[in-house]
């Protein structure tokens, strides 16, 4: 079925690309028509939902700035919107938001920290809220009658909790798994709910933002290395069973290896989620590029199909991130260090 849909949509696309006069006409300014993709993928100081005609429906978000000379400053992002073009660019109290949606000071060289509640931060709060609500609601049942079979949300969460505990934490970390299970569970549910909520129309690309993934990866990095035992560090700085000249090569590699692990985590999640969003939005973009009903139909089919795949990807990426975190932690706390 899926193969048929793909073949059909490719055929339709190729056919229409050559014979549609509208497509040729539209190809001139498709920058404008697909610009929304990158706009969606990246973070923003406002939450833009839709543009109907020339009216932008967007939620202004708070802009919070900390600078050593002026302390905390809080503005609404609507203060920076140009009333005529409806885009950012207007100067306000010595700050403006540039074309790349980045907050800048008018005064050159002034340093400040942009702590704005951007679209992704707002999304983060949403994900935190949903995660907390679901999990804390489920917890009530365990407190009330722990020996009963799970019901409601708990019955939905329990297999996942057990999976993380028994299939991720226990086999990869070993006997010390209990200490790290809460972290891995939090990680899994945060990434999973973030991925899933990110698929909702109008939602922000939170878990596909490199700042988010790098933070999560660095947390795993710190958890791993703060819990690293003697054998782990010995393995890094003086790999046992390796002759001295080789150590000169091995040790730098091992040290680089410490950092490639969080880097791999960062990039994997970022790329998987962002790519999924780009693919979906590209299929939607095709509709506006070709302005054809046939392409619209085929693209919609593809979007539905890719969305289903994205549901899978959302889960797999949460699993993979948690699994690799568990493996790194497991390697750091294992009793007899190296198993090459």
């Amino acid at each position: 079925m899926a193969r048929k849909i793909i073949c059909l949509s490719i055929l339709l696309s190729v056919f229409l690309m050559y014979f549609s006069p509208i497509a040729q006409a539209a190809s001139g300014d498709d920058e404008d028509k697909t610009g929304f993709i990158m706009h969606h993928i990246k973070d923003s100081h406002e939450w833009h939902f839709a543009t109907i005609g020339h009216t932008h429906i967007s939620l202004p978000l708070p802009v919070i700035i900390y600078s050593s000379d002026r302390g905390f400053e809080i503005y609404s992002s609507s203060n920076f919107v140009d009333p005529e073009t409806h885009t950012f660019g207007r100067e306000h109290n010595g700050y403006f938001i540039d074309d790349h949606d980045k907050l800048r000071a008018t005064e050159e060289g002034r340093s400040f920290v942009d702590l704005s509640i951007t679209k992704n931060v707002a999304m983060l709060f949403l994900v935190l809220g949903v995660t907390l609500y679901l999990i804390l609601t489920a917890t009530k049942q365990y407190k009330r009658n722990p020996n009963r079979a799970p019901k409601g949300i708990a019955s939905f969460l329990e297999p996942i909790i057990l999976f993380v505990r028994d299939e991720i934490a226990l086999p990869n970390i070993g006997p010390k798994y209990k200490k790290f299970t809460p972290y891995l569970l939090t990680l899994f549910f945060f990434i999973w709910f973030g991925n899933l909520l990110g698929l909702l129309p109008g939602a922000a690309n939170l878990t596909g933002n490199i700042a988010v993934t790098v933070t999560l990866a660095m947390i795993t990095f710190f958890v791993t290395n703060f819990n690293g035992n003697k054998a782990y560090w010995k393995h890094v700085v003086a790999t046992p069973g390796v002759p001295l000249p080789l150590l000169l090569i091995i040790v730098p590699v091992e040290i680089i290896g410490l950092f490639t692990k969080p880097f791999a985590l960062t990039v994997r999640l970022f790329v998987a989620i962002t790519a999924g969003h780009i693919v979906i939005l590209s299929f939607i973009g095709l509709i506006f590029v070709f302005e054809s009903y046939a392409v619209g139909f085929a693209s919609t089919m593809m979007v539905v199909f890719i969305n289903l795949i994205e549901l899978l990807v959302a889960t797999i990426q949460a699993y993979v991130f948690t699994l690799f975190s568990a493996m790194y932690i497991g390697a750091a706390v294992a009793d007899h260090g190296h198993d090459h």
Binding site: T118, L136, I161, P182, I210, A211, V212
Partner: protein
């Protein structure tokens, strides 16, 4: 806000947000959930092992019952056997005693009969002797009741004396 350069503001918010999420969930969710799961697993394990134990106990109880029954059966057989033996012995003994007694009684009876017989014979002898005497006396009296017979007898005696 670039695609591949992490934004410091978001890193800070993400660290704070995830930190809060972790702390809250670890304390108020994972701890009770994981301990509840462990407790439930423990209770299931315990229930299963209890059931297993109960089953084993039942089995051993059944086999013990069987053993007891077997023992009881053996004991019953033994008791019956001894009872039978005793009965036979008692009967034999009784028989022996009875026959002995009978023999003894017969012997006694025989002895009494003998004695009685002897006594009776003695009595008969005495009676016969008395009767003979009486007959003899009567005969004598009848023979010697006249003078010539008396004289003949005396003469006979005198003859006999003469011989001496």
């Amino acid at each position: 806000m670039d695609l591949i350069s992490p934004d410091l503001g978001l890193i800070i918010w993400q660290t704070i947000g995830f930190g809060i999420l972790f702390l809250v969930l670890a304390k108020y969710a994972w701890k009770p959930i994981l301990s509840a799961l462990e407790e439930r697993e423990g209770s299931i394990e315990e229930a299963l092992s209890t059931a297993e134990k109960a089953r084993a106990e039942m089995a051993s109880l059944v086999s013990e019952n069987e053993k007891l029954l077997q023992e009881a059966r053996i004991e019953r057989d033994q008791i019956l056997k001894t009872a039978n033996e005793n009965a036979v012995k008692i009967i034999d003994q009784a028989k022996g005693e009875a026959s002995k007694e009978a023999t003894r009684l017969i012997e006694e009876a025989k002895a009494v009969i003998q004695t009685e017989k002897e006594a009776a014979l003695t009595d008969v002898k005495i009676k016969v002797a008395e009767l003979s005497l009486l007959v003899a006396e009567k005969l004598l009296r009848a023979q010697l009741s006249n003078e010539p017979s008396q004289k003949a007898l005396v003469e006979k005696f005198v003859d006999e004396i003469k011989l001496n």
